[in-house]
């Protein structure tokens, strides 16, 4: 028996536990550190699925970029106020109920579908070269639009956070 299925379960547990802690911990700083656990677990799941380029992208963009951005956001906005924390604690059990219902509904829907192909694709020598060819070949137009979107987001967020001159 190979070790890959076991690893999948370990990393899935990492993703789920990290995610749950990220949404349930009262202190938002703790939530960010659990989010680190969750994102790293997702990258590991990508590796197990043979998506090596995507795993690296996940670590660079999410762990290195989005998480640091969120951490800066927390540093600049301070801690959750008393009233907000109380409101969050009140709505937590309803949120959990909603999440459980949603999860079991989704699992039922997934279980009811049978038309998915389930043969596993062989894992090649890595996906980077092929993804590069796809991005600059079939997907060149979306690729260029994505770069324009990033530029707009960059300029837009810099404009949004400016302080108007008094």
């Amino acid at each position: 028996m190979s070790v890959a299925p076991l690893l999948f379960w370990v990393f899935s547990a990492m993703v789920v536990v990290g995610g749950l802690m990220a949404v349930l911990l009262p202190r938002i700083v703790h939530a960010v550190f659990s989010l680190l656990l969750c994102f790293t677990g997702v990258a590991a799941v990508y590796v197990l699925a043979g998506a090596d380029f995507l795993a690296i992208t996940q670590i660079v963009v999410y762990v290195g970029g989005v998480l640091v951005l969120i951490a800066f956001g927390i540093l600049l906005t301070g801690r959750t106020s008393e009233a907000t924390a109380k409101q969050e604690a009140r709505s937590r059990k309803y949120g959990l109920a909603i999440g459980l219902v949603l999860f079991f509904g989704l699992m039922k829907a997934i279980g009811a579908t049978s038309q998915f192909r389930v043969e596993e694709n062989p894992v090649g020598d890595g996906t980077t070269e092929d993804i590069g060819k796809l991005l600059l070949g079939d997907y060149i137009i979306p690729f260029e639009f994505a770069s324009i979107l990033l530029l707009v987001a960059l300029v837009g967020s810099a404009y949004l956070v400016r302080r108007p001159k008094a």
Binding site: V15, F53, Q58, V61, T84, R117, G156
Partner: protein, 101 residues
């Protein structure tokens, strides 16, 4: 036992539900943003699962575009959050009602 497509779909469903819990329970705007990031990650796990089982590499290209969108969204959302905090000293999404009709 081997890991099949349904394991990936189940993991993605779990992460999506967790993200929804975050979005509906958090009142801190950054907490809501964390929930949205979890939902986008769940979507990517789905895409990677389909790429492994029958889909081919196109699914992974889609996942890359999702990551690009998530990064842009996080940057703009944090800019808005910082500006709200600057005006109100508070980022409770329930009390940010200036634009409510």
């Amino acid at each position: 036992m081997t890991i099949g497509l349904y394991h990936y779909l189940g993991l993605a469903a779990a992460l999506f539900s967790i993200g929804v819990i975050g979005v509906v329970t958090r009142r801190n705007a950054i907490g809501v943003l964390i929930g949205v990031e979890l939902i986008l990650n769940a979507c990517n796990i789905n895409l990677v699962g389909f790429s492994r089982f029958g889909g081919g590499l196109d699914a992974q290209v889609f996942a890359i575009f999702v990551i690009v969108l998530a990064a842009a969204e996080a940057a703009v959302a944090l800019a808005i959050v910082l500006q709200i905090f600057d005006k109100r000293r508070d980022i409770d999404v329930d009390r940010a009602t200036r634009l409510r009709g």
